[in-house]
């Protein structure tokens, strides 16, 4: 198999894997920083909508 093909597949794997890990790690860090303040929900419940724009 040509080295170009291997390089192409490797780049995709590394980039998507790296980005996925970065998103999940940042999400977990944000979840840890946010204490469970509302009744009836735990800190690991995510995805709720609040206000704001970021």
């Amino acid at each position: 198999m040509s080295g170009y093909v291997e390089a192409g597949y490797s780049v995709v794997l590394v980039a998507l894997g790296g980005y996925s890990i970065s998103v999940v790690v940042r999400e977990r860090a944000a979840r840890r920083r946010l204490p469970a303040k509302l009744p009836g929900r735990s800190a690991d419940r995510t995805g709720e909508d609040g206000g704001g724009s970021r």
Binding site: Y9, V11, L16, Y19, V23, E27, G40, E48, G51, R54
Partner: protein, 261 residues
């Protein structure tokens, strides 16, 4: 797309409903992620070891199973970012969740556009003899990448959250104008790049047999990867916004206490 739809459909205000819906969204995300991993592994296995070499391209045809899907996902990502921006700008549907979805989708789109450029360059070196050439398709794709990088930078400019969101929504719609230009550039101008392998306008596929199935699997799998990534990125934005809101509320309460004492 189920994960994205679940994330967007979450109601405001009802705490019990929030917990229930976010549980469903988390499950949808997990299922999407699992299917995406299985699909990508299957695409790589079929693309690298099962499908035959091409008569003209030889071994390099194997890059076909990842390069067009990257471009497709980037287009889908920018399409969803633009639709969300439009919904944000429209006064009757304006809601911060659309702004967050636009940001999440555009960021993921930038990753896939970068990969489109890189995999295309890796294919171009042995085929054309150069890593890069100022071909209309390559140039407009690079422009798309830069435009959405600019969009992401614009989102980080400090200011009133609503003003920032409105500005970003307009920028997203302006940047999206380049998407059809990228797709039709090979037809509109003399291009070194071959015509699209999948003709979206004529609904025609220019590969057959195992090559066609592998390519289609690539499209589906990377679209699932996109859905999973956007779902998580959207949740990250929501958590960050909530954190910022709670910090602000705590600061206001602190000031009020200081005033009273």
């Amino acid at each position: 797309m189920t994960a994205v739809a679940e994330a967007l459909s979450q109601p405001e205000g009802s705490i019990s409903a929030l917990s229930e819906t976010s549980g469903r969204a988390a499950l949808a995300l997990r299922v999407t992620g699992t299917l995406a991993v299985v699909g990508v592994v299957a695409t790589a296995w079929l693309g690298l070891f099962v499908t035959p070499n091409d008569v003209n391209m030889g071994d390099l045809v194997r890059l076909l199973y990842i390069h067009p899907p990257m471009a497709w996902v980037a287009f889908v990502a920018y399409g969803i970012a633009s639709l969300s921006s439009l919904l944000y700008l429209w006064p009757r549907t304006r809601h911060p969740r659309f702004d967050r979805m636009a940001g999440a989708s555009a960021e993921t789109g930038v990753v896939f556009t970068g990969l489109t450029l890189v995999t295309g360059s890796i294919w171009g070196r042995p085929t054309w003899g150069v890593w890069w050439t100022w071909d209309p398709l390559l140039t407009t794709t690079a422009l798309l990448f830069v435009l959405y990088l600019g969009y992401l930078a614009l989102r980080r400019v400090p200011g009133d959250s609503e003003a920032v969101a409105k500005r970003a929504a307009v920028a997203s719609l302006v940047a999206f104008v380049d998407v059809p230009i990228v797709y039709f550039s090979v037809s509109w101008w003399r291009s070194l790049h071959q015509a699209p392998t999948v003709d979206l306008t004529g609904r025609h596929l220019y590969v057959h047999g195992s090559m066609a199935w592998t390519l289609l699997l690539g499209f589906v799998s990377f679209t699932l990867v996109y859905a999973w990534l956007v779902g998580h990125r959207y949740r990250l934005s929501t958590l960050r916004q909530r954190e910022a809101d709670e910090c602000l509320t705590a600061a206001v309460a602190e000031r009020q206490q200081e005033g009273q004492s």
